[in-house]
């Protein structure tokens, strides 16, 4: 069966520090991969999605970037965190054909 791992679960980082959140998927190949952000009490905002290695599409211009160095690995990064980057980040994958998405357990990021 397919599983998705996302870490760390919680993270407290100072303003201006770098960020690296990692997500890996097991049990499937060539998945579509997504990064979402959920601000407190709000819905999910799509940040990045990827249909293959090295292929990244950005939905919202911001302080973050994403990379897909391997087929089942998706990384969310920042060179310098801002206070506004605080939130709950969710990684997700979907198969082909593209129907429902399956989510990781999320990372709660607090920038102080």
């Amino acid at each position: 069966s397919q599983t998705i791992h996302q870490w760390p679960a919680t993270l407290v980082q100072p303003v201006g520090s770098p960020l690296s959140l990692e997500c890996t998927v097991e049990g499937t190949s060539n998945p579509n991969l997504y990064w979402y952000r959920q601000a407190a009490g709000r819905g999910l905002q799509l940040l990045f999605y990827s249909v293959g290695i090295g292929q990244i599409s950005s939905e919202v211009p911001q302080n973050l970037s994403a990379s897909r160095p391997q087929d089942r690995q998706f990384i969310l990064s920042s060179k310098k965190l801002l206070l506004s980057d605080s939130g709950f980040y969710l990684c997700a994958w979907s198969g082909r054909p593209n129907t429902e998405a399956f989510f990781g357990q999320g990372t709660r990021l607090t920038v102080v």
Binding site: G43, L44, L46, L90, T99, F103, Q105, G106
Partner: protein, 113 residues
């Protein structure tokens, strides 16, 4: 652009009763998918139910069922025999073909014992 609207920020239901959560969407497409996701306090997003637009029959999963009205662009979720574990945020979502999931802002469901 496609949008998903959940007009009920919060809902409450008595344990063992039935509750219906509303969702409307805006699209010009004829082929798409609709979903309901549950987000409990742990914040893990869990797929509850899925509906393909080309299917006229409403999807059901145990105590969860949908009322899909394609012409009205409405996709409501009915939870029967509500349980305390059903308390969560519920998100309606839309996907067109190979496009991305678009989420509504969610409905917070409380279940009273």
């Amino acid at each position: 652009a496609q949008t998903v609207t959940q007009s009920q920020p919060e809902m409450s239901v008595q344990e063992a009763e039935t509750v219906t959560l509303s969702c409307t969407y805006d699209t010009s497409e004829s082929d798409y998918y609709l979903f309901w996701y549950k987000q409990p306090p742990s914040r893990q997003m869990i797929l509850v139910i899925r509906q393909e637009a080309y299917k006229q029959q409403n999807a059901t999963e145990n105590r969860f069922s949908v009322n899909f009205q394609k012409a009205a662009k409405s996709f409501s979720l009915k939870i029967s025999d509500s349980q305390l574990g059903d308390a969560a945020m519920y998100f309606c979502a839309y996907r067109r073909g190979q496009g991305n999931l678009i989420f509504g802002k969610g409905t917070k469901l409380s279940v009273k014992p």
